[in-house]
Symmetry: D2
Subunit: 144 residues, 4 copies
């Protein structure tokens, strides 16, 4: 069925690069997408949208983007859920970025090798949290 998302926005922080147990690169990042309308209080004028990308694209994202980079994303919406430490079920809606277009002159990141840590052996965790909650996602679930 049709499921299409197109966004232009800026990374709220440096992208996060990890690897599945099988060695497939996964990059996650959050886009701030400014709204066109302004509310009366002038507050909450952006949406913050979590994105995931895989393989070569993931490596490019990690190598060439950083906090503040302007990008275009073409992808699709995905929902998943996982069990948090406290046993609650957490529901996640995120964009799987099939293509990421860099909209600024190349500005290669200074290497941040601490980002290249492997994933926990049983999944890719909560890619947008600070914790490392394992979740039930394996290589079999890779979207492409």
């Amino acid at each position: 069925m049709i499921n299409r998302v197109v966004l232009i926005g800026r990374l709220t922080k440096d992208p996060d690069l990890r690897y599945t147990p099988n060695g497939i690169p996964v990059a996650t990042f959050t886009l701030a997408v400014n709204r066109t309308y302004t509310n009366q209080q002038g507050e909450k004028e952006a949406d913050f949208i979590n994105c995931v990308t895989w393989r070569k694209q993931a490596e490019n994202v990690a190598n060439y983007l950083n906090k503040g980079s302007l990008v275009g994303v073409d992808g699709r919406l995905q929902t998943r859920n996982y069990e948090a430490q406290d046993g609650r079920r957490v529901y996640v809606t995120e964009v799987v970025a099939e293509s990421v277009q860099f909209l600024e002159p190349k500005n290669s990141r200074t290497n941040a090798p601490e980002k290249d840590e492997p994933l926990p052996s049983d999944g890719y965790g909560d890619p947008f949290g600070d914790s490392d909650d394992p979740i039930d996602v394996s290589d079999d679930d890779l979207p492409f």
Copy 2:
């Protein structure tokens, strides 16, 4: 900035119609959007995407759609957060449906007047939950 979502899917249950304190209709519904690829286990083959729509469109959705209805949605992604009963902050990503296209022969719902209950006076609550958590959204935040 560009923020565009287009979906085709089926309502997972009847839409929910409420009203803001100022009397503006808000309908919420969840779309099951089947994925094109199939994972090896044959499991989790759909995404479940929460949608909101306002005003006339909200009333049409409530009047003409029900569980299982096939629709096309053109809209944008929105993020919000609100405080749950237990004090945790809950982050929500949903689609604001600017237009909803009905893709099946009209099949007017039998009236379900219990759906037309007003919202709590301080916001439109957690539109996708069963509870009535008030959240800090007022008429000033209406997207159009």
Copy 3:
């Protein structure tokens, strides 16, 4: 660069299935996409958009769709130009349908074998015209 089109509309006539010299199936069809606004005269209330699709998708389109079928299309815009019989250059803007979603209960076409004629040996012609103008498109130009 980002180039994305999503449409819902009805086929203005039966799709046209041809083959490149190398045997790759190409289906073309035109979608009538009704406009949401109505002009004062009530005239010209639809856009008529030419679409192309390739390979397996082309065969499915030819086998399962006909005049009046309702479909969703996810694809991209493409421009090409070719020389007409009278020497003029003709510019074409069309949608390359990467995915076509059938939105109506299967209603398998009665076979129309005269549609399955091969393309002229030097290209796929003007797929939306009645003539068979050869154009400078070869298998090398296939978009996927």
Copy 4:
């Protein structure tokens, strides 16, 4: 019905600003959208897509963009046709840009007052040609 186009590309030349007989601004421009795939010959690697925009957006486009400017466009596909000088009917497919996002630091154009000539009194002509063919489009047909 759903009709959505999102593009990122560069203006192939300065935008063209005109006015309808009723004084409504119309800007036209062509976007070069680079393809992601490369054909074997390395030729024809972009699509050239005609766009129209109206009113305030038209004036902004004319004031702030020029040849080479990078923009994002969110809009819809439109088809029209008009009679050429030689009596042939010309079919046009173009994008009505509902929003145009400037993707480069402001670089205000030097005024090009010769662009601000009014339209012929009976329509907005062939906005992408060099000629001034009148066509049967009046203010009544304005899309918004």
